[in-house]
């Protein structure tokens, strides 16, 4: 009986369907939430929509801003509050309709409508005007030198198609709404949606009328996207040749993947920093010396070597190197020094240590729970008895954000590549408009004023000086214990020539076959 089974399975295996070389079978841990380009501000959703829709300008595979649907842009000489965009001509949507300035006005207004998750990025905009069919002016409340940084994920939709299908505003995912655009698309991008089954499979095919046909390699003809949650299964799928590229290779499997014939690992620094936050108002961590002791009790090199298997860049500041304001000096992390840490603890009056709970996600960052576990051991050495409470992200974030946790882990990506984004969420006093991710209780009126001033400072040198000042205040207060910047690892077939994008978003028109 067993023989018979083996024979049957062998026969089935022998007749594996071959897929043409230009098809890319792509897998990552999660699926896009919706295909509506303005309804969600979230990695996998943008990752999928970047194949189908275009924005005015985009980040290339190295993270630099390059033209997309806009060919050039500049602030008007006579009015720094107005940015002028010259649009690309001869661009058409997947349904054949032409792209023009009306669509830009429509799309940006749509992205600012209720139900959009993109609207915070556009909050400085006062008015959007079509100057002619291929020129658009965007006027901001006060000068906004960094407006273009906020437009890289702002996708353009056809006004007529949206009117015809009644998708004039994004559906509010939070309220459980859906609309035609949730499952249907009409973009100008390199790929068109063929079929989609949520959490199961999404099929795309190349757009024959793509405007970038002669600009980018465009060697991929079809994309089959499958989300695979279980890390072991995802790696198995790559190892067995069932998928061509996976975005999140667990660090322990990098050796196995790169050591397998026909497979490669591509690596690049990610624009995301991992750190611990501490309560500065109540409990032992309200003592600065305790926070400093904890900071030097963390053995960042050991975390890098063992937990991250060399796949991380330890840091002394909660800012990735991509961000404007980053300096080598800030990045320098302190030496691991148990004796000095114990001394600080004694000075603070905690020679015998204290008890504390560490809240940690277990499905959000690379080896998040492993890092927290290592921290538990390191804190134990200076007498701090840490209880680790690791949970899925959906249950972790409310606690981390709500100020209930005296000691918690957080990661922060910086889509605008500017320090202001970090300050506004993590450093500013927690109010209902700002500081929403600063539950540490850190509050400094001078710093708050400087953060707000960054938004309208047009003198870039003066602006950078203010940024440096704020950073030095943050470093002195030590309400955050930086750990490292994450490193991205994409595993792929070795006939694929593809750079890892620092925002973890592949743009498949850039992919080349060797």
């Amino acid at each position: 009986m067993f023989h018979k089974i083996l024979l049957t399975t062998a026969a089935i295996a022998a007749s594996t369907v071959t897929v043409s070389a230009e098809t890319i079978r792509w897998a990552r841990a999660g699926d896009a939430i919706t295909m509506d380009p303005h309804a969600q501000n979230e990695g996998p959703t943008h990752g999928m929509n970047h194949q189908i829709y275009d924005s005015l300008l985009q980040r290339d595979m190295s993270g630099n801003i390059i033209p997309s649907l806009a060919l050039s842009w500049a602030a008007l000489a006579d009015n720094p509050n107005v940015w002028r965009f010259n649009l690309r001509q001869g661009v058409s949507y997947h349904d054949g309709a032409a792209f023009d300035s009306e669509d830009v006005v429509f799309s940006l207004n749509r992205a600012m409508a209720d139900g959009s998750e993109m609207k915070e990025l556009l909050s400085s905009i006062k008015d959007i005007r079509a100057v002619d069919a291929h020129t658009v002016d965007i006027e901001t409340n006060g000068a906004n030198p960094l407006l273009v940084n906020n437009l890289t994920n702002m996708f353009m939709m056809d006004k007529d198609w949206s009117t015809a299908n009644d998708v004039l505003t994004p559906h509010d995912v939070a309220k459980g709404e859906t609309n035609f655009a949730t499952m249907n698309t009409n973009g100008t991008g390199a790929f068109m949606l063929v079929s989609r089954s949520v959490d199961e499979k999404t099929v795309l095919t190349s757009n024959p009328n793509y405007w970038g046909k002669d600009i980018y390699p465009n060697q991929v003809t079809d994309i089959i996207y499958t989300p695979i949650q279980s890390a072991a299964t995802r790696v198995a799928a790559l190892l067995s040749g069932e998928v061509d590229i996976i975005q999140d290779v667990p660090v322990q499997d990098l050796g196995r993947v790169s050591g397998t014939d026909g497979l490669n690992v591509a690596t690049a620094a990610q624009n995301r920093v991992i750190f611990f936050g501490l309560d500065t108002v109540e409990g032992p961590t309200s003592n600065l010396k305790v926070r400093q002791a904890m900071n030097i009790a963390i053995n960042r090199d050991a975390i890098k070597k063992i937990v991250m298997r060399e796949q991380s860049d330890p840091t002394g500041v909660i800012m990735p190197p991509f961000v404007n304001g980053w300096t080598e000096a800030l990045n320098q992390y302190p030496d691991y020094d148990i004796d000095a840490a114990k001394g600080l603890m004694a000075d603070a009056g905690f020679a015998n240590g204290f008890d504390i709970t560490l809240n940690c996600p277990n499905d959000r960052y690379i080896n998040d729970e492993g890092i927290c576990q290592a921290a538990v051991g390191m804190m134990a050495r200076i007498g701090i008895n840490v209880t680790l409470d690791a949970k899925p992200k959906a249950q972790h974030f409310p606690i981390a954000k709500g100020g209930e946790a005296p000691f918690y882990m957080l990661g922060w990506g910086v889509p605008t590549f500017d320090s202001h984004y970090i300050f506004n969420y993590l450093v500013h006093t927690q109010t209902d408009k700002r500081g929403s991710w600063n539950p540490t209780g850190y509050s400094n009126a001078d710093v708050d004023a400087m953060i707000v001033s960054l938004e309208s400072e047009t003198d870039l040198a003066a602006r950078d000086a203010t940024i440096a000042k704020i950073w030095s205040a943050v470093q002195d207060a030590q309400m955050y214990l930086p750990i490292h910047n994450q490193v991205l690892n994409w595993g792929m077939k070795n006939n694929i020539d593809f750079d890892v994008q620092p925002e973890d978003t592949p743009h498949f028109q850039f992919l080349k076959f060797k």
């Binding site: 890390a231 072991a232 790696v235 198995a236 190892l239 667990p250 322990q252 499997d253 050796g255 196995r256 053995n299 050991a302 975390i303 070597k305 063992i306 937990v307 008890d355 709970t357 809240n359 277990n362 729970e369 492993g370 576990q373 290592a374 538990v376 051991g377 390191m378 804190m379 134990a380 050495r381 840490v386 209880t387 680790l388 409470d389 690791a390 949970k391 899925p392 249950q395």
Partner: protein, 301 residues
């Protein structure tokens, strides 16, 4: 009478090599779990004793940074696996034992009442059993865990992890006990000696405990053995689903869950040794249960 049964039992046991081997395996595992702190070279639950640089040391090879050697190697946090397995075994055995005790106590009491008293009580208990069966064990456990997590303060939540495991596994396994006991009770209560006992004026609970209970203990023991193995496996499954013992104080199941992450990467020992220990334990308990059933069921002889 009792003596005779015992010697008969012993006689059967000594003639069953599988039973002897299983019994030895279980005994060794149980003893080494009980005396873990004397056997284990380190205390894996003491975070201050962990040296992260010892992580991923293969069995019997010196660590490349610290030069330390470990019998079964170390896990991803530099924890000595041999010690971790002994301590983890202790948690798993404890969870299994307590869960079975809970399930057995509940099941036997409810089964006796349902079978002997009958009427609406019987109906109520059996409908309860239906509802219970509606939610299979892992769902029950996830539910209870979810509620406990939501309601308890964080510090308590952590301490309660093991208790919650015990309650959730125990609660989900009482039904087989209750059904078996109820069935046997219904058969027993029709017998003449019960009628006689009723005539003498013995109280209901006295009859249940003194006369019916001893007669239904055989099948209960068999179910208990099998449920024990089931509980240990359930603990492992639950930790896979993220609701098991915490990683800082790992049970056998948690060790396996962590170990499977390293299946493809070549650190085979992190999965293999805990998995083998669990397999040996569960297999031996199951084989013992088998033998018990055959021995206690005279009709199959």
């Amino acid at each position: 009478m009792r003596r005779f049964l015992e010697s008969d039992f012993l006689y059967d046991f000594l003639r069953a090599p599988v039973a002897i081997v299983s019994f030895c395996v279980v005994s060794i595992l149980v003893l080494s779990a009980i005396f873990a702190q004397f056997i284990a070279p380190t205390n894996p639950f003491d975070p201050a004793s962990l040296e992260l640089m010892n992580g991923f040391t293969p069995p019997l090879e010196p660590n490349m940074y610290t030069g330390e050697v470990f019998l079964l190697g170390t896990d991803d946090q530099g924890r000595d696996l041999f010690s971790a397995i002994l301590y983890g075994l202790r948690i798993s055995l404890f969870v299994g034992l307590m869960a079975v005790s809970l399930a057995m106590t509940m099941g036997v009491i409810l089964g006796l009442i349902a079978g002997y008293v009958g009427g609406w009580l019987d109906n109520l208990i059996m409908r309860l059993a239906d509802i219970q069966m509606t939610f299979p064990s892992i769902l029950i456990a996830m539910l209870i865990f979810g509620v406990a997590r939501g309601l308890l303060p964080p510090e308590l939540r952590y301490e309660m992890a093991i208790t919650v495991l015990i309650i959730s596994i125990g609660l989900s396994e009482w039904v087989p006990f209750a059904r078996t006991v109820r069935g046997s009770t219904m058969v027993e209560k029709e017998k003449e000696y019960i009628a006689a006992a009723q005539l003498i004026g013995l109280k209901k609970w006295q009859i249940m405990i003194r006369h019916i209970l001893p007669n239904v203990l055989g099948p209960v023991l068999v179910i208990a053995t099998i449920t024990f193995a089931l509980a240990i496996i359930a603990e492992a499954t639950l930790s896979f689903l993220g609701v098991g013992a915490p990683r800082t104080e790992p049970s056998l199941g948690t060790l396996i869950r962590v170990g499977q992450d390293f299946l493809f990467s070549g650190e085979w020992w992190i999965l293999l040794f805990p998995a083998l220990t669990l397999l040996a334990l569960a297999l031996a308990v199951n084989l013992l249960g088998d033998w018990l059933r055959d021995t206690l069921n005279p009709r199959l002889k």
